[in-house]
Amino acid sequence: MSKTAIIIGGGTAGMETASQLARLGVEVDLIEKQPHLGGHLKNWDRLFPNRRNSDEVFDYLEKGMNDGISLHLNAEISNIRKSEEKFTIALQDGKELQSDALVIATGYEVFDARKKEEYGYGIYDNVITSVELEEFFRSNKQKNLLEGVASKRIGIIHCVGSRDEKAGNLYCSKLCCVTGVKQAIEIKELMPDAEIFCFYMDLRMFDRHFEEMYYEAQEKWGIQFIRGRLSEASENTDHTLLVKVEDTLTGLPLKMKVDLLILLVGFVPSPETRRLAAMLGLKEGDDRFLCPADEHTITNSTEIPGVFLAGTVKGPAGIANTITDARATAIQVADYLK
């Protein structure tokens, strides 16, 4: 009788882990609470750094959804029991699933920008998040939207909800920087006469071709970068926004009117990740993301035998790293099930 694994979360990490495990001959149950697979990947229009369409990556992942994977969509977990090396998961619709291993791939959610009250998200008309901008890009109504607010000058705010004790998140979300630069370029492609300012603390262009994108943004698109964190925004009578930052490279406070403010919201662990962690007794780090058994070496298993982690439950990560991590998890699971 072949061994079985349950993967919770049908996003990038969950899909790739499932696909790889199925390839390795493991019977997989993939549980997703949404009516569709793909998770956040479905929200992104184009991916950094090469600006390829995210659907292409989704198509790749979907091709892995072959025999040996049982999909459970719209499925909410009500509880998890472990007895004698077996995990029993009760779903809210009364179904019960059993397996020999459990992979947590419930990922993250974006920071709720309303918590940074002084940025006026949800209050001022022309403050949106990077996620919303992606939605606009995806729905191809972007031109109308941006024209609607007569956007000529756009401010992009880095580190919203990241590296911020006031937001309760000390960690860096890593990918907002490159997202901001990508989106700045994309806006410029649509509206060549827009003036774009990125307000950043550090530009953490850590991965391959990221720095080159920053270079391109400056050289080709004339996007301007002002080093300083937004302290507060206020709305003008004409619905434009006044932003106040310190231009730290000149050592002077600066105020500027922008027509649209885009908040680069960071990663926080998804509530589902935290709920499952509490159910299973998994260890959370100071940043509330889940801890693997060892940060450097045993990066895909947990201290509980049979419970594995994949993707952004362990902290902010991009698509490529998530897929790589998912494969590593699959190997670990397969190894465990031998």
Partner: protein
């Protein structure tokens, strides 16, 4: 005007929208490589004039980008144009031409 023994201090804040950025646009057009600056400061660190004075080409350029031209003329006159800054710039910014462009811009704008 009366004096009460204290003064109203001028706001240090850069008022980006109030600033005239014609000079900025002019300079950026002549020397677009300046857009590549990432504020590392190696130019200022190697600067000979910076050794003798508080001349800071990195800051001068950043202020120009913001349209702040108050002390520009006084500052830019100190540069000896030796070109060391250009030699160390990791982004290949043509700093000598930038400085000459600033001179030209100041001349043209009558500042």
């Amino acid at each position: 005007m009366k004096s009460f023994g204290y003064n109203i201090t001028e706001d240090r804040q850069i008022d980006f929208d109030a600033n005239d950025r014609n000079v900025t646009v002019f300079i950026n057009e002549i020397e677009p490589s300046i857009l590549l600056c990432m504020g590392c400061g190696s130019c200022t660190a190697t600067c000979t004039t910076g050794h003798f004075t508080d001349f800071n080409i990195r800051k001068i350029h950043t202020l120009i980008q913001r349209g702040e031209l108050k002390h520009l003329k006084k500052e830019i006159m100190k540069c000896m144009l030796c070109g060391k800054c250009q030699l160390v710039c990791p982004r290949g910014v043509n700093l000598r031409n930038l400085i000459l462009s600033i001179h030209t811009a100041l001349e043209k704008s009558g500042l």
